[in-house]
Symmetry: C3
Subunit: 318 residues, 3 copies
């Protein structure tokens, strides 16, 4: 694996899921693999799970870890090509990347959507600079349009929780929120589920359809009750409008996931990438109920990251 | 030791003090004990000594260390049970804790008193959530009402500095400050000294008596000169009113510790947990004088933490 | 080496350059040297290269690393001797240093010029406290008047890029900026180049002469074109006025380094310590052109730091 920014960087999804599950069985089986090598974890945004799970995964592989909270610890970054830097920005992102090239064997970066310019976000204005200028493998810790380490953890979690022969019905359902949230987790989950042996349905209110480039032919239903019927897995996530970018068209129905809605499903397991706004996106009773596999999902972030780092190291060591 | 949040978690105080002193002699005697295990150091508040000494102690034991500055690096936390999270808070503390359960073998947390609601602080509204939701041992890096790693370091320091047969007279004396300060260090020192073979006296102005649940039958004197007479150890610390919670009743006398006041003692050793406001809580001449054992006390924070982490690891490894 | 805050702490410059180049060949040749020892990296200011290169260097030597973002993670520091600390400051720098003495075998600190009081900056009001109170070796990660780890990296980089017999002509040229910048890099480069076998010329507009204590007898030319003629190396850096401290006297000519200006040189290699304001200090075409050795210079920060840490460890281990 030469980089990891979307499902298309994965040669064989089932293989990497199995690898991650083996790592989960024995996380310290490759403690020498990363010895003498350095991974830089660059955060342009907040992080709890990604920050900690990436550090654990790297340590399990013997990698040195450099963590950089870019905005707080280093310099205010310029992203515009050709900018005359006579304003607030102190260092151009491409210079920061070129320096990271000198210091790191792997660069991992978190760069959320700005939610201001649709064009910038759709074009991955920041991640694209990493991909362009990095001379070492780049790993996305969530970018403007995708959150692939999360999606791989989601695949691992579904695999662990489905032992039946037939395809599970997986429903990605929109949930309420109080401010415009990015599409990365929704897009990414849609994309990865299309590579899994599942029946995927997306439920969201009118005006909230995700970018067709990610959802492709997946069935989109604007009625949550109808979508949830017989669901085996429910993935709860908010996102703002994509068409009317970052807008929040009014939603009259209550889309918060509750136990009442769960009753309508095939005892569906409930998933969420966290952080979650309790009693807004889903109710306390769901979050704390026995159908939730949300913390297991969080734990699998370690093995998702470790499987990816391990495959990247295979490439570097080859 | 299953957790460490107060002196009542210590089975045998003299034993752990001796263990800490042995560690001080040879800090690298147990470098394999924590191998493959991870301690999460979660800071909801500022920290210098606790942050650094905990990292050193953990590294000396071979533990992996994850440090999280929760507010700056992760998400704005909600603490209220049952909250409808439609405001500024992004992640519920109990979800953050459940995730830490997945990532850490030990969770250590600093969660100061908010100094706004007496009830919240007295009930340890944050630490109690860690104790309730954590599935791994919890270590307090200072909570609303106690600072046990500091108190253990204080016990170690007094032990090192007292070789006589009779009990030393230890005076915990209030000191001036410019804003309302929490009671944790005062409470905790009072509590731990009651388990030590010392004669404890507390000196504070009227209106500043500490919570009786901590001081119990310890003699409280409202006249500093009287209290300091023949002291062998003086512990300097400010706190605000407990009764009129977080208020700062006027104090007419000057309670700042000076060399003049020291002259009245049995060449008392001076202690302070740091940070200290020079020339407010105590004078430069005391801080920089030969009676101060304050930096030694700071150093002992390493061995206090290491002894505790080591006992927690004994439990985990058993 | 007992400390490292200026070129005068280096016994033999050529020797340490050669040592750094050997380390670059084999960075992991001394992984046991720092085992069981701790370096504290204290940042009072932002840092990217220094932060990461110091961590890598320390890890390569087997040192434990404690990183402290003092202002954000610990306490607001007081710097004035004898201060009555009844204001915003919570901990005196000398107490913080005394505590670092207890925790670290080496203290490295970044403390920029405040650019408010010439006297404070010239007297290194912060670094001087570290030198006064530290009981362990002190390493400057850039102070008010010097940036010695950068300058050593600059010497390494020039050595790598000059194989001819005759002395290279090295021009330190002032560059435009939008706000008052400190003199540390300029001073330091001037000082170190005087110890190298080069012909140093400084070019800056009238009113921008550096402190004579650093530039001594080096030729200062107020005409950039004249200075750049036949240059072999050009070091680009802004600084504000030293005489009229921190002022920015008007400059009518355009001092931004461009390809047009490079044409006038002996195919000069271009250097900059980074971060650089593109199209203000130098043009994109220079930054991205083949004459730039700026990223190589950034990489050499690792070996500069590692050579220094290694010599400091020799002293500690002796």
């Amino acid at each position: 694996m030469k980089k990891f920014t979307s499902v298309s960087d994965v040669e064989n999804l089932q293989e990497i899921i199995q690898k991650a599950l083996q790592i989960k069985e024995n996380p310290l089986s490759e403690t020498q693999k990363g010895k003498g090598k350095t991974i830089g974890l660059v955060f342009l945004n907040s992080s709890l799970r990604t920050r900690l799970s990436s550090q654990i995964a790297a340590q399990n592989l013997g990698l040195n870890v450099l963590t950089l909270n870019a905005a707080q610890e280093a310099w205010n970054l310029e992203f515009a090509d050709g900018a005359v830097m006579n304003g607030d920005t102190v260092e151009h992102i491409k210079d920061a990347i070129e320096v990271l090239n000198q210091y790191c064997d792997i660069i991992a970066v978190r760069c959320f959507a700005g939610m201001k310019s649709k064009e910038d976000d759709v074009n991955e204005s920041i991640l694209s600079q990493f991909l362009q200028h990095a001379k070492v493998p780049v790993i996305s810790l969530e970018s403007a349009t995708r959150h692939p380490l999360q999606s791989l953890a989601d695949c691992i979690t579904i695999t662990e929780n489905w032992k039946k022969e037939h395809k599970p019905k997986v429903v990605l359902t929109w949930a309420p929120h109080i401010k415009p949230i990015a599409h990365a987790v929704g897009n990414s989950f849609a994309e990865w589920m299309q590579e899994m042996d599942v029946e995927l349905v997306i439920a969201n209110p009118e005006g909230y359809d995700l970018d067709k480039n990610f959802t492709k032919d997946v069935k989109v239903i604007h009625n949550q009750d109808e979508a949830l019927k017989d669901a085996d897995f429910i993935y709860v996530k908010n996102w703002s409008s994509f068409d009317d970018y970052a807008a929040m068209p009014e939603v009259k129905e209550n889309w918060m996931l509750t136990n009442e809605k769960l009753a309508n499903t095939n005892q569906a397991k409930v998933m969420h990438c966290l952080p979650v706004r309790r009693n807004v996106e889903l109710s306390d009773e769901v979050m704390d109920g026995e159908n939730s596999i949300i913390y297991q999902q969080a734990k699998n972030r370690i093995f998702s990251a470790q499987a990816v780092f391990s495959e990247i190291l295979d490439e570097l060591n080859s």
